[in-house]
Symmetry: C2
Subunit: 251 residues, 2 copies
């Protein structure tokens, strides 16, 4: 995040208009929403989805208060309200939020109403797992293309998708309307793959290889470093062991 590109937080404060003709309410002005807030918004939406699925509104009238929703998600109620206020807040004071309307607003803001085809590059263990990961299509991210360089893998189906030659990335990505590219290759190939994806028109990349990727400024890169997560846990373990008993079992 901070290591790769200076995130394109367009200078100034250009407000933005609703994507499509949002019929109800006045124009909701969307400022630059903090990333942490966007992450939580998805959590709110997920909880609301689950409530709607079960049909179990918290109340009979289909409203939910910030306290209740915050409790379900596990965040501070004030934070939730502030998060929602970025969207123009359509809550009703004294009552709460209309669950259905809030859900619709969140879907609109997060683009949850449409799908974003994904391509996975590198059909190793990790790539195959990602291709079969049910959480992706469930949240609007169907994996529509797999790429590799191994002739033994090209042409064979993995998780229901035929693996393509990475050299055909541009063609396949265009055909499948790929919007997001996922790099699951060994580290040495990651930069090369990123270049290929960018050349194929992909402007959003999720990389699993450690190390930095250099891409044009208009390409958004996110990195997930699995080993780093363990390393951070290990660091807390060290600190903990340092404070307590290093090797001793019980004093």
């Amino acid at each position: 995040m901070s290591t790769i590109v200076a995130d394109g937080a367009t200078a100034g404060g250009p407000a933005r208009l609703p994507p499509i003709g949002a019929a109800p309410g006045p124009g909701l002005r969307l400022r630059t929403i903090p990333e942490a807030t966007v992450a939580r918004l998805t959590a709110y939406l997920r909880v609301l989805d689950r409530c709607a699925m079960v049909g179990a509104e918290l109340r009979g009238d289909g409203t939910i208060s910030s306290d209740e929703l915050a409790g379900l998600v596990g965040v501070n109620p004030a934070k939730l309200r502030k998060d929602l206020s970025y969207l123009g807040s359509h809550g009703t004071r004294g009552v709460g939020y209309d669950a259905a309307a809030l859900r619709s607003t969140l879907q609109q803001a997060l683009g949850a109403h449409e799908t974003y085809p994904v391509a996975v590059v590198g059909v190793g263990h990790l790539g195959s797992a990602l291709a079969a990961y049910p959480g992706f299509p469930a949240r609007g991210f169907p994996v529509r293309a797999l790429f590799d360089t191994d002739p033994l893998k090209i042409g064979r189906p993995v998780a229901g998708i035929t693996v393509s030659d990475i050299r055909e990335a541009a063609l396949v990505c265009r055909r499948e309307d790929v919007v997001i590219g996922v790099i699951a290759t060994p580290e040495p190939a990651a930069q090369r793959v990123a270049d290929v994806l960018v050349a194929a028109g992909v402007r959003s990349i999720l990389g699993f290889a450690p190390g930095q990727l250099t891409v044009p400024a208009d390409v958004e890169v996110r990195r997930v470093d699995l080993a780093l997560e363990l390393q951070l846990l290990a660091f807390h373990e060290i600190r903990r062991g340092d404070v307590a008993a290093p090797r001793q079992a019980v004093p």
Copy 2:
């Protein structure tokens, strides 16, 4: 930053400060190193490792300046120096850092000299991939145990490790000295698995299931939500497409 940790309500969040100056740990000279800094320290160490491996010091005398190292990692030189200052800074003014000594210091601080056995729970696609992920053992995190509930999987080897019954978690974790648990199960089972791991003595957990996990206060939890990463990329995609309307809004 990197991933989003949204479960501040329950478990070990970013920092748990005592409300008042209750003087918790009197003599803990443990300088509280910011998490972001720890993450970068590992990046520095990795780059130094690679340099040492290649034998290509930037200079003949085995020193490296903050500018050079920062350039290799892709961060601001001042940030790098401040990061290193948390460790007590063993650099030499006018010269730079002794690469070997710095590497040793980082290894010591990050605990990179020892290994932290890992257990993976949930031997599905993702769990299998994690069990075989070469980046884990390469950075000191050997996967020593696999757990599942499926009788068809229990007893069979995956990535060279025999899958154990989750009910034997306590036994196996103790035997293998497991320090870190990784939850790669479907969402509904995640909380149950977390409870089992905690009962087995694991105090560091990496979860891949969305949704919050509630654990005792002394257990450190990190979450990696793969679909969330895509969602954040999609949000930038929306914003980007929306910019098409360069309308001025309220002042």
